[in-house]
């Protein structure tokens, strides 16, 4: 769908009285045009779904019984007779694709070898009714669109007896039961804490002319349509609850439970959490579309960090608002999950989880790193709702890029991750460390579950993407890049853009054909590595006997060789510095494998540096980007000194105890 038409549909949906249903069975149904959860008088997205759910959580068994009424608006332009649904919690079973991939990669994550069956998760549909067409419970079929694993039950499909016409509505009434897993990743319980993520049957997305409803994979995340959520959560009265959207009511029940009601507009998922131990810290961010209520659910041991959490969230929101576009929702819930629960560092619409510990010093910006990143996903996932299964780099990587920009802006480029005890590390350092080991394994443009392994998935989707965009800044300019990101956000918010939508936006805004770059950085696996090969400075009168070299008087012929070691071709600058202080800048298109520069001056070459402005972040090896004529042993001497002391200490420790 072209951009203009998409915007038009949104406006129509927002301004009109709710459209009446057009199918036999779903007469009178529509997607509500409510706006109470957003700072906007009109709806912001093309609303495809409306979820109305009533769920009762049993804190003792970590299970949940719920009813779900899903209204689906068929905006595919064609009649639909088949709809797939995600049942993500079934991924937490020993034969699922999620677990099999985790076992296969075995590169990080939980110790699945000792997985207690009591900790499994499950999502069971008790009944499935299509309004006007009858009960389809017995006709549901598990499908496996991504692999041949017939034991994977994370996607179920229903074949309707009557197709939904184009622009028609259909309504499903589903009863289901969840067994939350002990949290292994993103969702589940830990002690008396629970995070309810991916907990309800969720319809797939019709995208590019087909259903897009992938199985739950070990690394990949999610993809869903925008809509309206009305959710009633019944939990024990002692629980403190937080959820996506705005809280619209809370009623105590006679049986010791309470029912808390939430409403969300223009979101594509709904998550919630409950724990008796949360302490609530409230704050407000004044955004350009209106005030945003910030609600922090803190662990009591982290209460002293509440203001620290609030500060980074507000600074991050201010940067996003100023650089990329407004945050339109009225709320943001920030959850400080149970430590060690594997639920930290996760994003859901208007709901994020941070990650901290009680002992984190101020100079270790781990909480800030997590909070900024997860808030960033409100933009790159939450509003610009890319397909996280197929284009993980577009949410994780683009988000990592903006994270680097924002945290560097707040804390300084070299200290935006660690700044204590004389040790420093920046966001770029983190990205480079993650990227270098996997630089040539996979391209960005690849299905998330088809990467070589989890290290490659993380190193490429998060870090190579970020470094590629930072390097692109060097090509088109920082201001242009920021305008491109702003344009991309404003153009594609509340839609599902593809990778080409993103890349073309950058080309549009920059006015440049950047295919040469994208074909290598996005679609290719070429490695970028330039090297200063060699420096020589020889006196012109080298042949004379008793040559007496004098600084500033003796004339030298100097040669400098620069080499492209990798396959990635990018134009570079080279700076040659002479021992009389002169500097010469060269520009090389990098097409050949090497280039030589020759000079005749009354000075020797002192040093040569490729990329002297440090704009090429993708270069795999920064050490060989420069060469100094006279070696300087001090840095290595410093490290050797450290290492010697550590070795001495270790030897003394051994002797202390054993002799």
């Amino acid at each position: 769908m072209v951009v203009g038409l998409r915007v038009g549909v949104c406006l129509l949906a927002a301004l009109a009285v709710p459209v009446v249903a057009q199918t036999d069975g779903a007469a009178g149904v529509a997607i509500p045009a409510t706006t109470s959860a957003i700072n906007s008088a009109t709806s912001l997205s093309q609303r495809v779904v409306a979820y109305d759910m009533d769920a009762k959580y049993n804190a003792k068994t970590h299970s949940l019984d719920a009813t779900e009424t899903l209204t689906y608006h068929n905006l595919t332009g064609q009649a639909l007779d088949t709809l797939p649904f995600h049942l993500y919690l079934n991924g937490f079973q020993p034969t699922s694709t999620w677990i099999r991939e985790g076992k296969r990669w075995n590169s990080y994550g939980p110790d699945l070898g000792t997985w207690d069956p009591k900790s499994y998760g499950a999502e069971e549909i008790k009944s499935f009714e299509v309004v006007g067409q009858g009960d389809f419970t017995s006709q549901l079929q598990f499908i496996h669109p991504d692999d041949e694993n017939k034991d994977d039950h994370t996607v179920v499909q229903v074949h309707l007896s009557k197709p939904i016409p184009a622009d028609g509505y259909v309504q499903f009434k589903i009863k289901f039961r969840d067994q939350f897993p002990e949290a292994l990743a993103r969702t589940g319980w830990n002690h008396d804490f629970v995070l309810g993520g991916q907990w309800f049957p969720k319809v797939g997305v019709w995208w590019h002319g087909a259903w897009n409803c992938h199985q739950f994979h070990f690394d990949t995340e999610f993809f869903a349509d925008f809509g309206v959520y009305d959710v009633k959560l019944t939990v024990p009265q002692y629980e403190v609850v937080g959820a996506s959207g705005i809280e619209v009511g809370s009623v105590n029940n006679p049986d010791g439970t309470k029912t808390v009601t939430y409403h969300g507009d223009d979101i594509h998922d709904f998550a919630w959490t409950a724990s008796p131990h949360y302490l609530i810290y409230n704050d407000t961010f004044q955004g350009s579309m209106g005030p945003v209520k910030l609600r922090f659910l803190m662990q009591s041991a982290h209460w002293g960090q509440a203001e620290r959490h609030a500060r980074i969230i507000k600074e991050t929101m201010e940067h996003f608002d100023r650089w990329y576009g407004p945050y339109p929702y009225k709320t943001l819930t920030i959850v400080d999950p149970e430590p060690g629960s594997a639920a930290g560092g996760m994003e859901y619409p208007t709901f994020i989880t941070g990650d901290t510990r009680w002992f984190i010093p101020k100079g270790l910006l781990w909480p800030e790193d997590a909070l900024e990143h997860e808030f960033g996903h409100q933009y790159w996932y939450g509003m610009v709702a890319t397909n996280e299964f197929e284009d993980a780099w577009m949410d994780e990587g683009v988000n990592q890029y903006t994270q680097i920009k924002i945290l560097d802006s707040i804390f300084g480029a070299s200290t935006s991750l660690v700044n204590m005890w004389g040790l420093t590390a920046g966001q770029v350092d983190q990205a480079r460390t993650g990227y270098e080991g996997v630089a040539d394994l996979d391209p960005l443009a690849k299905n998330g579950w088809q990467y070589a392994d989890s290290n490659s998935y993380g190193g490429i989707t998060y870090f190579k993407t970020a470094l590629s965009l930072l390097t692109l800044e060097g090509v088109i300019g920082e201001d242009t890049m920021r305008r491109a990101m702003h344009t991309y956000f404003m153009r594609y918010r509340f839609t599902h853009p593809s990778k080409e939508d993103f890349l073309k936006t950058i080309e549009d805004v920059s006015g440049q054909d950047l295919r040469w770059y994208f074909s290598q950085a996005v679609y290719g696996t070429q490695v970028l590595d330039y090297e200063v090969m060699k420096i020589t400075s020889v006196p012109v009168d080298w042949y004379k006997e008793n040559l007496n070299e004098k600084k500033g008087e003796t004339e030298y012929v100097s040669n400098v060789w620069v080499r492209r070691k990798g396959e990635f071709v990018i134009p570079i600058d080279v700076e040659v510095k002479f021992d009389n202080g002169d500097r010469v800048r060269e520009h090389w298109d990098g097409q050949d494998r090497w280039v030589r520069y020759a000079y005749q001056k009354k000075a020797r070459v002192e040093s040569v540096e490729v990329d002297p402005d440090h704009k090429i972040y993708l270069d795999r090896n920064n050490f060989n980007n420069s060469r100094i004529a006279e070696p300087n042993g001090q840095p290595a001497g410093k490290l050797t000194n450290y290492w010697t002391c550590i070795s001495q200490f270790f030897a003394q420790f051994l002797a202390w105890w054993l002799v």
């Binding site: 804490f193 009680w358 290492w643």
Partner: protein, 306 residues
């Protein structure tokens, strides 16, 4: 020896009077660590010496650049740096095992021990010291294994609560307790080693029993002394790190070297102080008659306190 002088002071006096042992052991420690660091040093010099990027390690310390260095293929694998260091740590351990009998004899002597006596003591007691170390390793290792297993169970139980600090403090307090137990065992074997050297008898098991009895008899004073010295050792380490951080400019390789080596020297001295304390305790044991074991060792002179 003045029996009223504290063991800590008596031990300190012995170490002060025999400074050369600490200095020689320190030089061995430094030399072996230098050999152990050579492959690390060669690899680091090969990558950093000609690079401007290395400046981020000299002025300040960029963790990111350091990690980039470690993952460079030309730097080699991490074991290629750690294995030589471990190997030479073991060599230092063996050297300590070899020369410690001479040190203990020197500590017990009221005059400067002649070189030939020193080496004779070393040679004569190699095998008993090896056996003592094996006994210690088996006994202390078993004890540590049992205690750590118990501690892990406690930490796991603490981990099941919602109190985030509880597992940490359980681990901390449990570890301190285990260190205390290991210190007591070490103290016992230090006295046993002294017994082997000073009684000049190869029956290690007898020395272990004797060490146990003497340690039990002076348990409070000896343990107190060991703990005081251990606290001094920790203070030395912390002070050294703080001075390194606060005083030495990040680009001053020499300044950091001096502070680092001074810390290592003093740290080593604290362990010798503990040993001297054990020798002083042993000497008092045999010069103060007791009901059940009031005998002296022929030819042994109790070390004076100056």
């Amino acid at each position: 020896m003045n029996g009223k002088t504290s063991l800590v002071a008596a031990g300190a006096a012995i170490v002060r009077r025999n400074k050369r042992y600490v200095v020689w052991f320190y030089l061995l420690n430094l030399a072996f660590a230098h050999f152990g660091a050579s492959s690390f040093s060669d690899a680091a010099h090969g990558i950093l010496d000609h690079s401007l990027y290395a400046d981020k390690l000299l002025h300040g310390f960029s963790l990111g650049v350091f990690l980039e260095l470690l993952v460079r293929p030309e730097f080699g694998t991490l074991p290629s740096a750690t294995h030589p260091a471990m190997l030479f740590a073991v060599v230092f351990l063996l050297a300590s095992l070899l020369f410690m009998p001479g040190v203990l004899l020197g500590y017990a002597s009221d005059h400067g021990l002649p070189r030939d006596e020193f080496f004779r003591a070393c040679g004569r007691n190699v095998w008993p010291f090896v056996r003592l170390s094996l006994f210690f390793t088996v006994f202390a290792g078993s004890m540590a294994g049992i205690l750590f297993a118990g501690l892990n169970a406690l930490v796991s139980a603490a981990d099941k609560t919602s109190n985030e600090r509880l597992p940490f403090f359980t681990q901390l307090i449990g570890s301190v307790f285990i260190l205390l137990v290991l210190t007591i065992i070490r103290m016992w074997f230090d006295v046993a080693q002294t017994d082997v050297v000073l009684r000049d008898q190869p029956a290690v098991r007898k020395s272990i029993v004797a060490g146990f009895r003497k340690t039990r008899r002076k348990f409070g004073r000896l343990l107190g002394s060991y703990l005081v010295i251990a606290i001094v050792a920790m203070a030395v380490l912390v002070t050294g790190i703080l001075l390194w951080y606060a005083i030495a400019p990040s680009s001053s390789v020499l300044g950091a070297f001096i502070i680092g080596q001074a810390t290592m020297l003093l740290l080593l001295a604290t362990r010798f102080w503990q040993r001297a304390t054990a020798v002083a305790c042993y000497a008092r044991e045999i010069t103060e008659p007791v009901a059940d074991e009031g005998r002296s060792i022929p030819g042994f002179a109790a070390p004076p306190v100056s």
